[in-house]
Subunit: 324 residues, 6 copies
């Protein structure tokens, strides 16, 4: 059963991931432990009042544990697990991907949407480029499919890059029909490839995403620029102007020098991809913050990802009804 | 005939608007005059080598003149009018709106699109608010329909506010379907009303758009916030949360304090409207810059609206073909 | 006896407020507790070496406790209370307002000064506005009288708004006589009302001052602007120019966009109120820092309120004598 | 007759200072000249349509000219002088100080006020310091009395430093009575001496105020710090703490590193002087802008001194009456 | 004879480059012309009082002219040429490189120094890289040798890139011996190649240096990074760590994101090259400003290259003697 | 034996300095202690699992302890001391200067280098100034020799100021030969004296370096400026221009107002000293970070001194060999 689907009073007997551990002194001299447990859909709290020493080795951040107990929603303290037992999970009793945070849609669905979107690109050179980089049998596809989108802030999980790139490219495709003067093929291709440098810039360990040496010393934007320019130079007859248009989108997609782009956007396509990428990052941060929000809370703390406190208050009964 | 549709060698006999005048000394002691002439679709240059004094009164920036001559595209100097005659236009021989820069679509079409979009808002309170402010018989509608969107940079012309608000709201509606968790009604309403303060913040003179005293002393955002909060308080039973959600969109739509919003965006809807508004402003600047670009040029000078030089270079034959 | 008035060696038997609690492990495995205790005039430290568990529930930040012991000024560690007993305070044995930090002058005195200052405003419309908002029988007066001026930094206590607004208005009135060209009535009215938005922007719980939803989503400046503009519109014949002059003071009083004003000061009155408000905030921060300063210390840590470390070193014997 | 006192239709026959000259080509091939003429109280415009070449040498910015003509206030173009004659002024026919911009009060009055204010300083060491630097027979007094306060922005005229320092010190003295905890003697002394470095940092040519080499290479703040520290070290028994308190006011009076203070204000006295100095500078800019404002205008252009456009619109009849 | 070597009273009969032209109206209705003429070592002024129209075509900025006249140093107006004749230069009568601003040392000398410095690099892979890119027979060498270092500010002339890179690399080599822990080979190689992207980023027209499309759309840093990474990948067995160390120097050499580096310096070598490059740029700006300084002047106007006014005042007789 | 020279498996029996102490609860209710121990060449970790209470008084940051045990390099945890005994050091059993962090070279060597460098200054006035301030028998020499260069970041140890000033001056001397137009004597003198204000701005306690009251209230730059200007005024016949050139170097050496210089560099000498000082500070930060780096680590955390994470990864075998 997924954490998101638990209801007050429900019995649990399953594996969850330890996300945080705190040990504190009790009045009587002993210790108690506060655990944050979760799966890819949500998080709850469990307190261990006795026998903390026995489970200390087991309860380390990033490890799965098998728990039994009762799920209770406390009016003031939020979702809690009244724990009765905690043990090492039996082998094969869980799938790591169910426990790690992940995208709301399965990777297969996202891949289908990606293939559909690529099929709308009509310029033969850009299609060839996309096939070379994202084609199902290309060397990079499998890494692109699994890579996270970030270390923090948004889509910091397996398939995060695919989810983020696809959503941005879909948004870009829609906007290219609303605003005049945009070369849709260049914009969609740029959107699909804008973060390709993350393949080299991030490690692929799903539990502990981090920057690689190359990511820190060369930067994700130059790494992506190099990969795509190099690939383009291997494609015969690729028009120089089209190449430059796509490379400019990749190089400028952070929008300004102080955010790490070595050039600022000078074309409509570059502005469009930058803006929808930025929007996708902000909304992805709201998704992350909403998952972490204790039940009943409406405000998060200050979040660097959105530069503000996020508000998840009620909007209205009508709105709530429509959202349901 | 519109300037955009002129071809090399064509004869002109029509009214254009003087957009710029320069008088310089000639070698022989006399003067010559360089005129920038245009209509709402483009601009060309005309030189007057003799008799400058006779036409000096006529040729003032912002005045219409009747010109006769031949349109020529010079390989180096761009589009020029080889002028044969220039005189005061006959009364009724032109429509000022054809000469002033304006939106690419007629206001009627935009109004239809606006009505269609409003019809998709399902929350009854928000619908009531939109009817009260933008309904065809409301006091504000006629001003909203004619107001410019800005003094400079983008959509600085009659109907500019309608064009800008509509495009932003359409983009917001599309994005609300792409990204999860967004209250579409709040976002679309906020998008349609985000710049409503410009009704009081700008003068309505189509030739010389400027800020009013209220625009400078109170600011367009507080003016819009006051108008909408005041209107909402007159609507019976308007839910407090919905009201606050829309007002927050208006107040925060510049995205940061240093750009004049007294609060930063704290909700998905506020981020969405801010981002699409920002994108709409940037792409509107590209539209303006493209109109002013001399034929053959690919780069503009540095433009404060986009914070960069804009590039309108060729992308490829394929692209050009598709764009045609 | 007030903390400010204690002298070395004095016996204490009274109620103080717990402002901070720290529990640490002792070498022998047990714990000791370090308490920060205070009233509205100052603060001292008390150590509990034994029986920490018994008093743990009692000793929580924000709760009053009855203490007995001896006040000692340690040459190195500052003011300490050598505690002999600590218990729950008897009902009625203390007034919460004596314990909470508060203004140095009683609210009644400040109200008198306020009434005197309002009486010097000669413009009948501004007088009517002040009566409507701050008149003794107005709906807002009681809240204005009790509201805090801030959550942190300065005058973060009951009556703080009254104290801050009055001092700023008095300073503004003095300066209006020193510098030429200032409309004293507009400036004094603007000074008295500049922070009126805080009535809605802050909760009124004296122990835990915080921002309201409206404070975060709409901002204290728009809230104040709305209230005053709305009130003015209900006053018959209020001159438009006077209204705009006062509203401009309220909107611009943070002095710059990046500090949350949607417009920058464009008039002498607006600059004057901004500057004296700013000065009042800085000096209020010094007052707060001085209360928290351990005896004998001359430097505080870096303080965000003044953007520096504050120095309270000796100036000279003469100065000290004069200050006494 | 002073420019401030001229009324529509009045005949002029007197010396004014040329403040600006523009020569432009006429339609007939000749030139016309537009002069900005003024005295210390205001400014007007005069056009010369014929014989420009004859007066070109005479009409140079910074030179006095004798003019005859009629003063007319044009509804659209503002104050104009309909010029009938213009010639070199007879020797002795004018006082340069009447023509140069200057303070509204005579220097003698300001000196009296300064002596009165110094007399209120009770600390004997600070009094000794003020006597040494500003005493009527001190070496520096005469320069302090005549120096300008700035090159641009505010009080950029003879006696400007005296006017500015005195007003700031008077404001500081008033505020020291309103806000608690301020050492009035230190604050007033610091206010009187805060800009003393300008004696070396500016040239004393009343027509063309400029920075000296020392002003540019060493900076006005270090120059003033050096002078006062050096003077203090010559005064026997000057307490080290008092010295440091005054030097800190001088060093930190620009308020932040980026405005050129090598240290930020850490004491109440330093904040007070910084704030009132800042306020005095802003209001001084309003004075300058108001003098330059064409009759009938309400807005100035963007002014770097106040970081905004200044507004001099009407406030109300009542206000106007009171101001009269 | 070079401009730098002219002395008061000397006769000139040679070709100079027109650097600036101003035409102004004379009192009698005619015009006069003010020319700025120069060669690669300095600049002088010449006035043409009569016959301006005859020479107008000849005197255009960027064109060489043959002048005859007398060189005079005016006490107030600086170096002037009292012109007697001016004509089109005879073919072959001058070398363009003598007229254009250029480095103080001949390119041959700089090439020798470069070869000497490369010879001190001991790492065989870095030597191979330098040979491939800067070897006398490499494809890039000739362009590197002739390219300018910038469009404005410093070394904006033929051979400027060579001069700048060499000086920076020499400085880096010296510093690598002063400070511990620096890999001299990586630092020197990085210094020689840090600006290699300018080969594609700038046009090579010696008279009108400008950015190319690639320079604007891709940026000089990514262009250089691509070229060197691509070259390294063609060199067999090039160690990955060494490659990354050099690429990091190139990518981070602007020192911060806001100056266009996509990554900030993380290694000693990167900091060293950034700092010496920065120093070289500042001192190169002083060289440029000193050439343009009118004789007798000590201060330049505000210069964006150094972020200040530059001072070239006397230091002392001793200093002057030593400098001679 | 110095920490830098320890090898895996080596026995230790010597005094080290306690640099950090952490006490944490064990599972069984007791505590363990983690010590950071070091000398001037490096640092290691030691764990105390039992008897923590007995050594708690002894183990305080900043105190020397005598330890016995075995040095082990753990593949994952880095350098550890397997501790067998820990006691109070016998009197005279260690030299504090061996334990405190310090410069890599002995002070005597640095003094010799300083004397050599001073001997190259040829201007007699600057030589006299250097003798007066840094001469072996001057009052300031002994303090200059022992003072630290900073509180944090770089050379925060005894002799740090000497080390930093000497290295900067040596670098400046080298660069003065590479770049044209620099007055070497002014630059070297400025470099040797640029941080002289630190004599008064920092306390001299080698264990706890901190700012003095004068350092905070007056700032190190004005303090240094005062000292040198005062000294110069006592030297007969010191040329005004030379004085100003050196004072400008001192005042502007932080490079910009926001870094605390009251004036920005306007001369080549000032830019040179600023840049080499800045470089010296950055490289000094690398030295500090490298000493603290656990064995095997390649990246530090984000460091404010260099504004980045520092990388100490391998460069290549060749490089390593050369470095050995």
């Amino acid at each position: 059963m997924l954490v998101r689907d638990l209801t007050d009073g429900q019995e649990l007997d399953q594996v969850l991931l330890v996300r945080g551990v705190e040990v504190r002194a009790k009045r009587d001299g002993g210790h108690f432990m506060k655990l944050a447990l979760g799966d890819r859909t949500g998080q709850l709290t469990a307190m261990i009042w006795d026998g903390v020493e026995q489970v200390r080795d087991l309860c380390q951040a990033g490890r799965p544990v098998h728990v039994r107990g009762r799920y209770e929603v406390h009016p003031r303290w939020g979702a809690q697990l009244a724990l009765r037992a905690l043990r090492e999970p039996a082998q094969g009793s869980f799938a790591l991907e169910d426990l790690l945070d992940g995208p709301p849609r399965p990777a297969e669905t996202m891949e289908e949407d990606l293939r559909d979107l690529i099929a709308t690109v009509q310029d033969p050179h850009l299609r060839a480029l996309l096939d070379r980089v994202l084609g199902p049998h290309s060397k990079t596809w499998e890494r692109y499919r699994r890579a996270p989108a970030a270390k923090l802030y948004h889509q910091a999980y397996v398939h995060g890059l695919l989810e983020h790139s696809l959503t941005v490219a879909q948004g870009v495709a829609l906007m290219a029909g609303t605003f005049p003067g945009i070369d849709r093929d260049v914009a969609v291709t740029g959107a699909l490839l804008h973060d390709i440098g993350k393949l080299e810039a991030y490690t692929t360990d799903p539990v502990a995403i981090d920057l690689t040496d190359a990511g820190r010393l060369q930067g994700e934007i130059p790494l992506g620029y190099y990969r795509i320019r190099r690939t383009i130079e291997e494609l015969p007859g690729f028009p120089r102007d089209v190449a430059q248009a796509v490379l400019h989108v990749i190089l400028s997609h952070h929008g300004s020098l102080e955010h790490g782009s070595p050039v600022v956007p000078c074309t409509r396509e570059a502005w469009l991809v930058h803006m929808v990428d930025n929007l996708g990052g902000k909304l992805g941060s709201f998704d992350r913050l909403e998952k972490e929000l204790p039940p009943g809370a409406t405000w998060t703390g200050f979040d660097r990802g959105i530069g503000a406190n996020a508000y998840f208050g009620p909007i209205s009964d009508e709105s709530a009804r429509r959202a349901a």
